[in-house]
């Protein structure tokens, strides 16, 4: 397990990942990252840096070091299991294609 954005103690200010919700009802989407000394200034800077053109209605900031990522070397073990499991998708069941409202 690694934290992709963790630059450790080498930087003067910690790194924050910025997420923006573009409209009510949508999920927050990763917009980018920035450095700031604390969460208040991170939110403020995120507004200045990533929402200059009405990109969103809500901003989240998360310390990059708080993000835990799956191990890139374990890609196979983590993400290959859906292969061969087409039956998890509705489109697998074709017998019912002509049946209305099913």
């Amino acid at each position: 397990m690694t934290s992709p954005g963790d630059s450790g103690a080498r930087e003067m200010w910690p790194l924050w990942e910025v997420f923006i919700r573009s409209a009510r009802g949508l999920s927050h989407v990763h917009a980018g990252s920035l450095h700031a000394p604390d969460e208040i200034m991170a939110v403020r800077n995120a507004r200045d840096l990533y929402t200059r053109r009405a990109e969103g209605v809500s901003v989240w900031v998360v310390p990059a070091s708080s993000i835990t990522a799956s191990d890139p070397d374990a890609r196979g073990a983590y993400f290959e299991s859906p292969q061969g499991k087409e039956y998890r998708h509705a489109s697998y069941y074709t017998e019912s294609d002509s049946v209305p409202h099913l």
Binding site: M12, G32, A36, P37, M41, L49, R52, P72
Partner: protein, 317 residues
Amino acid sequence: MTEDDFVGQRRFDELIANEQRVEPTDWMPEGYRKTLIRQISQHAHSEIIGMQPEGNWITRAPSLKRKAILMAKVQDEAGHGLYLYSAAQTLGVDRDTMFEQLITGKAKYSSIFNYTAPTWADMGSIGWLVDGAAICNQVPLCRASYGPYGRAMVRICKEESFHQRQGFEILLKLMRGTEQQRSMAQESVNRWYAPALMMFGPPDDDSPNSKQSMAWKIKRFSNDDLRQRFVDMLVPQAEILGVTLPDPAIRWNKERGHYDFGELDWSEFYEVLAGRGPANSIRVERRRRAHEDGAWVRVAARAYAEARSVEPERIAS
């Protein structure tokens, strides 16, 4: 080469061949990492240094609207620098290291920003020609094989076209003005035209890194191809503006389906690149001073954040 490197290289080659993006946690060849760090940080430095010629005109812009537009543009450039520094950091280089390289003159940035902007018309020429060349260069970079770089470029390109259009509009307004305003616009276009064409880098035969960058799908088109594309766009735009492009060799070539244009004076490009341009020392010096004079802001912000994070009782006592 270790076993891990062998497996990593094979996976990397697959990603590149299949037009997939390489992400920060993926294995990548050292040369790829180094090339990207150099290119992305140079790009970031160019945005940050690029704030200067225009920042200098904010107070002298001819109307409140033009001041507001110019401020928005300079703010965008700061933002572009920050997006790009963040992208470079995902490759393992520190922000502080990059700043240090810029203010000590160790790192390069686009040679175009070493020219001065003595008249208001230069705000038009920089927008139309310099930002125009930048867009031409940057749009294909949205498809760069390195994920964080490509994503930063998408955001930058969206903002950049405002920069080009506001510049075009400045020139258009001047060209519709008095004789004096028209000659100011023309004189400015004369000065910026060739340096803007040089922004694509040296001719393909003298560009040693291009081939590898294209093989890695960082670059998608060669310097000369992009330059040609830019000239093809400029000629009709210049006609609408009513300005003359300062190159008598420009003419439509029916066989090629492109505009022919004359040789550029590359000795000037290399002079400016070597630090002997009109404003090299001013630009770096001003950046260094801004960084050093701003040190107290960084220290204060951090002290404030630390004070806020301790228990309120302890602050009171």
